[in-house]
Symmetry: C2
């Protein structure tokens, strides 16, 4: 196959022969197709998309480019959750041990934060000693003994995806729904799962703010999973305001620990329970939904999920004493309250500016590999619809220094918009459930 002809066909919106696309991708892996041809194809895909058949070839080649986890030694179903990322999204830390309580193994491989969203690995590393770079054998051992384990992607998993992502990142070819879907799903398919629950965020703070685009991404990912025999369900959840109160790695970890102890914000708790129920149904498609929801509620309220989290932290080298005093994770030297400068109704709490400010405060990355400060961030107590008087506390800022405090103060006043009259309607916490490429259950 001539690589240039493949690029030209995609450019012209013609279907690619599966064998030709496979040869192009293999050529890239083996060095015969250079980066400059791949980036041209990727840009053509940004404009012309990929058909389900083409996407399947891409996913298959990505999975086949590396190792796949063999979790056949485990005696219960393996189920994972993936989130497209949002501001204040600390769900994974609560959900993994909770789901393990419901009769499944949760082998969770996560990513780091980049841009305006934080990452699960960064939140876990806020716990002193916690290792997120487990060798595969150690990961499998923790998984077997604890029921859940959380680590970073290893180099052995889907190396083609990693190479493509690095190239996309510097060639303006990230925003393509089939490419995003293939990237996410290839890694999950390599985990050897029985079930997968996708949390697709919608709204200002989401990777894809637009609901139609988020839905398309969800359907594409579900299609890829179902095609390859993986029980896959996607849930569209609200990201038009932050999830929970804490935004910033250590603060979010502290909030997740409180949630595991039965003391988290209602919205976080609701989303966690919804996703736990979906994971239980993915583990056992014959289970009753109401029953699964009740069991999830019980495992969280009883403290059993927190106990399991503690065992996981211990197994992964983390300091379990922070679980007793999560406030120890608030390590920023400067803190201040930000108060309303007028009275009225909180119209909205825009999440994206908060996420961007965390980066500016030193708590996030603009480039892969940067060190971050896990102590900085926000606790935003104001919620859309709240009635406030001038001088009421809207949020608390955690920063390194006085400049950071001032940046944080301005950010809160930009994010938390107060005006007269009722607040515009917010998204419901759970917008839709998608269990097949064409289906939506709201």
């Amino acid at each position: 196959v001539n690589p240039t002809r493949v690029i030209e066909r995609k450019r012209d919106g013609l279907a690619l022969d599966p064998a030709d696309l496979r040869a192009f991708l293999q050529g890239y892996l083996e060095g015969g197709v250079p980066d400059y041809q791949m980036s041209a194809l990727l840009m053509a895909i940004v404009f012309q998309g990929l058909s389900p058949d083409e996407t399947a070839v891409l996913v298959e080649t990505m999975v086949g480019s590396g190792a796949t986890l063999d979790l056949g030694y485990l005696d219960l179903p393996r189920v994972d959750k993936h989130s497209t990322g949002g501001v204040g999204d600390k769900v994974s830390l609560v959900l993994a041990p909770l789901a393990a309580e419901l009769g499944m193994y949760v082998p969770m491989m996560s990513g780091r934060g980049l841009g305006h969203t934080t990452g699960t690995l960064d939140k876990l590393e806020a716990i002193p000693g916690f290792r997120v770079d487990l060798p595969l054998e150690r990961f499998k051992a923790v998984l077997q003994s604890v029921g859940c384990a959380m680590t970073g992607q290893t180099d052995e998993i889907a190396p083609l995806d990693r190479r493509l992502y690095a190239l996309r990142d510097v060639t303006g070819t990230v925003p393509s729904i089939p490419l995003i879907a293939a990237s996410i799903m290839s890694k999950k398919l390599a985990e050897g799962l029985d079930g997968l629950v996708l949390d697709v965020k919608v709204g200002d703070g989401a990777f894809l703010p637009d609901a139609a685009k988020a839905r398309e991404l969800a359907r594409t990912m579900v299609g890829i999973g179902v095609d390859r025999g993986l029980r896959t369900v996607a849930v569209l959840t609200a990201m038009d305001r932050p999830l929970g109160v804490a935004v910033g790695n250590g603060l979010e970890t502290a909030e997740a620990i409180r949630c595991l102890g039965g003391d988290g914000p209602d919205d976080l708790r609701s989303v966690v329970l919804e996703l736990a129920t979906e994971m239980a149904l993915a583990a056992d498609p014959g289970a009753d939904r109401d029953d699964a929801a009740r069991r999830a509620e019980g495992a969280l309220s009883s403290g059993r999920a927190l106990d399991r989290f503690e065992r996981m932290v211990d197994a992964q080298g983390g300091d379990v004493t922070v679980l007793k005093r999560p406030e120890a994770l608030c390590t920023a030297p400067e803190q201040t309250e930000v108060r309303a400068d007028r009275s009225g109704t909180v119209q909205e709490v825009r999440p994206r500016v908060l996420g961007e400010a965390v980066v500016a405060l030193g708590g996030g990355r603009t480039e892969v590999g940067q060190d971050i400060d896990s102590g900085v961030g926000f606790e935003v107590t104001a919620r859309p619809g709240d009635q406030v008087a001038a001088g009421d506390v809207l949020a608390r800022v955690h920063a390194r220094d006085a400049d950071g405090l001032e940046l944080g103060r301005r950010t809160i006043l930009e994010s938390v918009r107060i005006a007269d009259g009722p607040a515009p309607e917010q998204f419901p916490l759970v917008l839709e459930r998608i269990s097949a490429p064409g289906s939506v259950e709201s």
Copy 2:
């Protein structure tokens, strides 16, 4: 400037800051911007286009990346012609010496054939000894002494264009009108011209067959030239049938020599005289068109243009004896006539299949750098509208061997379509004249 941001803006259809685009291009020249970012930008340009301002920056950077000819030592205007290429297009060989007769210098830098069209350099090389790789100083000396000189692009001219073209060729990013226009015009602008006439072919045998696209290319090129103070005019000419009778390098050279001697086909002669008139007007905008046309006619009929061609051939090392017997250029060992297999009216003579067959016969290239056989090709005497009887001669095939003859025979029967009833209307030889980005004079 972050190169990724530039790619993203183009991808999203946003205007590029001229300084940012300039920095991107300079970065590419200097090595800071790698091929894979450039090819992604080029593909985004294929989809989103370039504004006139952006095109101007590209052209300016291409011109500035190399040397420009200083032709200030010449005492008459410098005018060149460029053709977008067609089947049987041997115009340059006749036009350069003819225009020089009209009181201008013609510093013609041409290209080689690729794909279904032949190239001026290949036609010149059919003349034994003719050198098309003149060092710049030798080129200038020939130009001064003869009045015209014809050579290949030197490496010193617009190296950015050459690098970009090589990259576009293997990344599916050739078909972009602003990129094509910038590539052509950057080389012409580096020639230090006073005037430029563009011959933009339209129809089946053209690089851009579609009239609307050809017109857009013509307007874009004229816009670039006018912007930079170069008197530029484009003429859209017919390429829905071959120009002249001969197709194939040596055969075309022989036909050009006959045309210089007053014996060429009418259509070739008409196009040459039209373009010569335009060149005369570009050299002297105050001249009278009818008068210029009469002078061109006289220079061709009198044999003065042929004399000047002979001086150029001599100065560039070519064997001038072939000018007396151009049939010596028909070097293919096998020849045959192809006859009509039915009676009727010639509906069309499709040029593209003829051009492609020349490549298949060994007379053209599928890749840069291939050797070619200048003797093979066709003499197609059938013209659209001709009444023919079964057995009438349609064309003569020149080939290396019997297989080539058979291929040529099938090609003629495919190209020359005979049916009952009148032939569909053909394009007029000259469709339109474009002298400003928005103007059309038909």
